[in-house]
Amino acid sequence: MPRPGDELAGLKVLLIEDNFLIAEHLRGALENHGCAVVGPAPHVKLGLALVEAGLDGAILDINLNGEFCFPIAEALAGLNVPFLFLTGYDDRAIIPPEFRAVPFLSKPVEEARLVAAVAAFGSTRNGRS
């Protein structure tokens, strides 16, 4: 069990995950590190409703109960919000070419890796501002 901290303090991150248990687990982990979690949202419609909440980043599960999350990814890219994919797929081939460079984490994820990836949103954000 990793030690909680505040590495993610001040970051507002959208979480898209269809599985309730996993979503709760991730939210718990992120909040333990001081992150403000928006969502979690289990499907695209809700996810799209949340993208304009002044996000610093987003974590997207690709397969949302049979539908793909890419419309949300497009919306985020349009708003210059950084995001990463957190998915059961091992193969990036499923991802459309324009998002192949997006950070890609495979489930189940180690908490430290997730935190480090989300922390990178912060540095991007700092670099932006």
Binding site: L21, I22, A23, G88, Y89, K107
Partner: protein, 1191 residues
């Protein structure tokens, strides 16, 4: 003497370089073989056009052009009307036509005259001469008769070239031409074409310079040569005339330099004769200079008939008549003005020339059609006969004219003439010759006869002899001169001739009648002296002893009497003459004293007008009558001694004299009458001569006709000969053909008798040569021949062909027998032809072929069946030239989406439309398709992968392999392609990929869920044992749900099963106390996973704390569909009773929270729990959408 047409030609210089020379070739009998030798020698690029005029039978089609084509590479064509003449062409006259050339075009007209009289060669050559001038050549080949001679003459007159064939088979035409002197060369056939080429080349290359001093000298040398050789003196001719003819000769001889020509003349005297001949060529026209002729017609012709009665003749002389046009022109005028009726005088025109060939032409009286432009239509119709493109003088005009060979300068002139027409002859003579000639004309004419000269000729020095009638048109009238003396003869120089004339003159003196001698003596001695003058005072004649009154005046001698009058005479003479001229009466001047030698003579001067009948101008006799003697200063009287004796003697002598005189008178009269008789005898002879001459001419004409007919016959004969030759050649060809084909052939006549047969026929029938004429039925055949007779009869009856196979009696030979009717060229059935073709080998071969064919067909059929059975599309291009003709097998057609009947076999069929291929998103053009590529370029295309666009719009993934088809020569002739449908493989691959992704996704999600579950449940419990139990229970529940889904092949899981499985995972589950009720509903796999866990939590709570935790507790689970059809919802009610009531105070555990939150989160639904008195009630509600697979 000839006259040239020099003046007419000067204005006719042609731009010769641009004109194609035309060579006319005239031929008749024997002409065909001559042409066959001549034509091969003509070079194809000679630049000349050749026109062949052959005498042809007018009633037969001529094969001449066909026969000639074999002997030349030049194009040969039969002339049609208005054919244009081109260089390096040969034109042949068609039968029954007259040919002329005008400018560059050949014209045909129907011949007007009966056969036998026709002269088509002349007709064409004359028009050729006028159309081409020096750019014309005429060639006379073999032929009898004289056609062509006139034509060559015309060509030569117009400075063209004339050639005759040497060694002609029939040399009549050629001889006639050579005799006329009109032929420049007589050559063997093979040398004619080179000569033509050289001549025309030289013609273009050299134009002679005749103006230079050197040329003049050369000319005078030529004249000297001419005089020496021929006796003709052309030095009097104008240089230009001579030069023109010299130039022409030089062109013929191809000499560039006059000096060379002189040398040639010196070396070859024969050349001098030829030059003379050329110099004598001349041309005159009818009514040349029409105005002059109309003046003549108006002022002279009518007067010629004045005072002439039926016994008289109007006599006209035309010296230098050449070919007779002028003579005939005058004859026409005379005819038209001749008084009608019995009293008409005879007309006689003497026409003379030294050019015998020209006279020949004149006598024939035939002229080219071009004369029509000089002669009014009326005269043409009246005086000419149209004859085969020429005009012939009508006989009544012809008989007026008498043509004779006569040298004006050497022979005695005709006399007692009323008119001399001598036009354009004097201009060729020197003044000296002219001066001698004019008195000759004066002598030849009757008193007041007329002289008609050419427009550039004049008589200014001879006003004494001739007076002017019409100055501009040179018509003169003879003045009267009492002394009519034959001028000195001949007029030309040779001195021996002069001597002869002198003696002739003496003779004439001796023969003078005595009476006139006496009278003259008397007049001389005893009558007064007199002179005869004309009105102007010119002395025309004088008696002797005029010396007393007249003397030569000082200075140049003049014949004017006034200037000659002696002292004292002149005033009275002048007065007297004036008086006589003005009054017309005798004038006498008396006692005129004339100063004469050493004294004075008194005379009476009588001027007496003399009236001579027919004379147009008066003359006067001036008589000097002496009165007394000459008075000198001492006037002596004559003594008269012995006067009586002497006077007696004198009387006697006078008597004798008188007797003698009387006798003389009688003798003189006798002599005169004898003279008269002689003269009339002479006249009779002359007329008889004329008659003979015309009879001779007639004979000549009929001879020509005969020759002409003969010639035509010969032509026909030679053509016939050629045809016979051709026929026999064809015959032998046929014989050889029959021999070589080895086809047994038998010809039968209408009665089915054997007419002839080929040697091979003996193999089929027992035929021998003597069987000819026997019925075919009697000839034994070497095969089963029952039907031959019958078949032949049927062929004759039906005219249909019979063909059948027959078998030879022995050794198995087979024949095809054909029977056809025998048709003659005129399509008359004249029998039957039987042919037997040996087909033994052929039928064996045929059998073999059909066997092989059958085998081949079987194989092809198997292959085609195979082709249709293989599950590979096969496309074939048979022919590279037709890339769009593609045949396709059955599978291929189906692949392409073509409608194919569902039956096997039939082989590849033609594709109904082009197929479309995609490679990625790019559609290939027709040429890029693998099959076309292979068929076009011969390259193999291996494993091309692409998408086939079917007719119905569907797409199939295919692999195409194509390879070219190559013919025997290794050339690409087509292509073949195999198409394999790989669509299903591709689909399977894609589906596998999807499954793989799904698997990854599910496994990882499960692991994540487990991981989350593990971390979630861990800290809330104190001991690890119950935690492990709970965790394991949850994992089992998940596994059970998965098992359920797997059983349903991951399509979904039935709701009832999910509930049952959740309950069954707790052992306490018993059917009797649990009720599960609701319609069959299949949940989607995610919904099933969620609900599986939800029901597990609910069941766990029920077993641990709820209705199932106590005995007698019951529970029921039911569900129903609610909401409107568009938004169906599922409501699941979980009811527990008979247990302990649910506690409200206690904080909700993980299970309860999980149920509520996960239904909300994952199913977008709602879960609520209501506690009851002995249990609780869960109500789960969520939308159909996403969660329910199907009801």
């Amino acid at each position: 003497m000839a006259r040239s047409k020099a003046d007419a030609e000067d204005g006719e210089e042609r731009s010769s370089a641009t004109v194609t020379p035309v060579v006319g070739i005239g031929a008749s009998a024997g002409g065909l073989s001559a042409l066959e030798t001549l034509l091969p020698a003509i070079k194809p690029d000679s630049g000349l056009a050749f026109v062949i005029v052959q005498h042809l039978d007018p009633d037969h089609e001529s094969a001449l052009s066909t026969l000639l084509e074999r002997h030349t590479t030049l194009p040969v064509s039969v002339i049609k009307e208005d054919t244009s003449v081109e260089a390096n062409h040969i034109y042949v006259i068609p039968p029954n036509a007259s040919l002329t050339i005008i400018d560059d075009r050949l014209h045909l007209s129907p011949p007007a005259e009966q056969r036998g009289m026709r002269t088509p060669i002349d007709g064409f050559f004359i028009s050729l001469a006028e159309a081409r001038g020096e750019k014309a050549a005429g060639i006379i080949l073999s032929g009898a008769g004289s056609d062509g001679t006139l034509g060559l003459r015309a060509i030569k007159e117009h400075d063209g070239l004339t050639i005759a064939q040497e060694g002609a088979e029939y040399d009549g035409m050629m001889r006639s031409a050579v005799r006329s002197g009109m032929v420049d060369f007589v050559l063997p056939l093979a040398e004619i074409p080179p000569k033509l080429a050289d001549y025309f080349q030289h013609l273009d290359g050299h134009k002679l310079q005749t103006e230079s001093q050197a040329a003049a000298e050369a000319l005078s040398r030529i004249c000297a040569l001419l005089r020496a050789r021929t006796g003709h003196d052309f030095s009097g001719y104008k240089d230009k005339t001579v030069a023109r003819r010299v130039q022409r000769r030089m062109q013929v001889l191809q000499l560039a330099n006059m000096q060379e020509f002189v040398e040639r003349l010196r070396r070859e005297p024969h050349e001098v004769d030829i030059l003379l001949q050329d110099l004598l060529i001349g041309v005159t026209n009818f009514f040349r200079d029409p105005q002059a002729f109309s003046a003549l017609e108006e002022k002279v012709i009518p007067r010629l008939f004045d005072g002439k009665g039926a016994d008289d003749a109007v006599r006209v002389w035309v010296p230098g008549c050449s070919t007779g046009e002028e003579a005939y022109s005058i004859a026409i005028l005379l005819r038209e003005h001749m008084p009608k009726g019995q009293a008409a005088p005879r007309l006689q025109i003497f026409a003379s020339d030294i050019d015998e060939p020209a006279l020949q032409v004149a006598r024939i009286g035939r002229y080219p059609a071009t004369i029509a432009k000089n002669i009014p239509q009326k005269r043409l119709e009246r005086y000419f006969l149209r004859e085969d493109g020429t005009y012939r003088i009508s006989p009544d005009l012809r008989e007026i004219c008498l043509f004779s060979s006569h040298n004006l300068l050497r022979d005695a002139p005709f006399s007692k003439l009323d008119l001399i027409s001598c036009r354009n002859l004097l201009i060729y003579l020197t003044t000296e010759l002219q001066n001698r000639l004019v008195p000759l004309f004066h002598y030849a004419l009757n008193e007041s006869g007329y002289l008609f000269l050419g427009s550039s000729e004049n008589l200014t020095r001879h006003t004494r002899l001739f007076s002017m009638v019409d100055k501009p048109h040179r018509i003169f009238r003879r003045r009267i001169q009492l002394e009519r003396r034959l001028p000195e003869f001949p007029l030309t120089a040779p001195d021996n001739a002069r001597r002869k004339t002198a003696s002739a003159q003496r003779t004439a003196v001796e023969q003078e009648p005595l009476r006139s001698l006496a009278e003259r003596q008397l007049l001389d001695r005893y009558s007064p002296a007199y002179v005869i003058i004309n009105a102007e005072g010119d002395v025309l004649h004088g008696s002797g002893r005029t010396g007393k009154y007249l003397e030569l005046a000082a200075g140049a001698p003049r014949i004017d009497i006034f200037s000659m009058a002696r002292q004292g005479l002149r005033p009275d003479l002048r007065a007297g003459v004036h008086k006589a001229v003005s009054t017309g009466h005798v004038a006498i001047q008396k006692n005129v004293v004339v100063g004469t030698n050493g004294g004075r003579q008194t005379i009476d001067l009588v001027i007496h007008p003399l009236r001579i009948s027919g004379a147009h101008d008066a003359i006067y006799m001036v008589v000097f009558q002496d009165i007394g003697g000459i008075k000198t200063s001492e006037d002596t009287e004559a003594s008269t001694s012995e006067e009586d004796v002497e006077s007696a003697n004198l009387r006697q002598m006078e008597l004798e004299l008188r007797t003698t005189k009387e006798r003389l008178q009688t003798t003189t009269e006798e002599l005169e009458s004898a003279n008269e008789e002689l003269r009339s005898g002479n006249e009779e002879l002359s007329s008889m001569n004329e008659e003979l001459q015309s009879a001779n001419e007639e004979l000549e004409t009929s001879k020509e006709e005969l020759q002409s007919i003969n010639e035509e016959l010969q032509t026909v004969n030679s053509e016939l000969h050629a045809r016979v030759e051709e026929l026999s050649r064809a015959n032998s060809d046929i014989a050889n053909l029959l021999e070589s084909t080895q086809i047994a052939t038998i010809f039968l006549d209408r009665n089915l008798n054997v007419k002839s047969f080929t040697p091979a026929a003996k193999d089929v029938f027992h035929l021998v040569e003597s069987d000819t004429g026997r019925p075919i039925g009697h000839v034994r055949a070497r095969f089963q021949a029952d039907t031959v007779q019958e078949d032949a009869e049927r062929v004759l009856r039906t005219l249909a062909t019979i063909e059948r196979q027959i078998e030879g009696a022995n050794n198995g030979t087979r024949y095809v027998m054909r029977m056809v009717p025998y048709r003659t060229v005129d399509n008359v059935i004249a029998g039957v032809v039987l042919t037997f073709v040996d087909v033994t080998k052929m039928s064996a071969a045929e059998a073999r072929i059909s066997e092989l064919t059958r085998d081949l067909r079987d194989r092809i059929q198997s292959l085609e069946t195979l082709l249709d059975m293989v599950p590979v599309g096969i496309l074939i291009i048979q022919d590279s030239r037709h890339l769009d003709e593609i045949r396709v097998n059955r599978y291929g057609a189906q692949l392409l989406g073509e409608g194919v009947k569902n039956e096997a076999g039939g082989g590849p069929r033609l594709m109904s439309a082009n197929m479309r291929l995609l490679q990625g998103d790019h559609e290939l053009s027709g040429d890029e398709h693998p099959l076309q590529l292979a068929a076009r370029t011969g390259r193999n295309v291996a494993n091309f992968e692409g998408q086939l666009l079917r007719r119905d719009g569907g797409r199939r993934d295919v692999i195409i392999t194509s390879t070219p088809l190559v013919d025997d020569d290794g050339k690409v002739r087509g292509g073949i392609a195999a198409i394999v449908d790989i669509s299903e493989r591709k689909t399977a691959e894609a589906r596998r990929q999807v499954l793989l992704y799904e698997l990854q996704h599910r496994v990882k999600n499960i692991l994540s869920t487990v991981s989350a579950l593990a971390s979630r449940t861990l800290p809330t419990e104190g001991s690890l044992v119950p935690y492990a139990e709970a965790f394991q229970g949850r994992l089992r529940s998940m596994a059970a749900t998965h098992e359920l889904l797997s059983r349903g092949n991951w399509h979904g899981a039935p709701l009832s099963e999910l509930i049952a499985t959740a309950l069954r995972s707790h052992v306490a589950f018993d059917r009797s106390n649990v009720a599960i009720q609701g319609p069959d509903i299949l949940m989607t796999p995610p919904a099933a996973a969620t609900l599986g866990m939800v029901f597990y939590e609910l069941a766990t709570n029920a077993v641990k704390y709820g209705a199932l935790s106590v005995p007698g507790g019951r529970m029921s689970v039911s569900w129903q569909i609610a909401g409107p059809a568009s938004a169906n919802r599922l409501v699941v009610t979980w009811t527990e009773s008979g247990g302990t009531p649910a506690s409200h105070s206690a904080a909700p555990g993980f299970g309860t929270t999980f149920v509520k939150r996960s239904v909300e989160y994952e199913l977008q639904g709602k879960a609520e729990m209501e506690p009851a008195a002995d249990g609780l009630r869960w109500s789960l509600e969520f939308p159909f959408a996403q969660n329910v697979q199907r009801t």
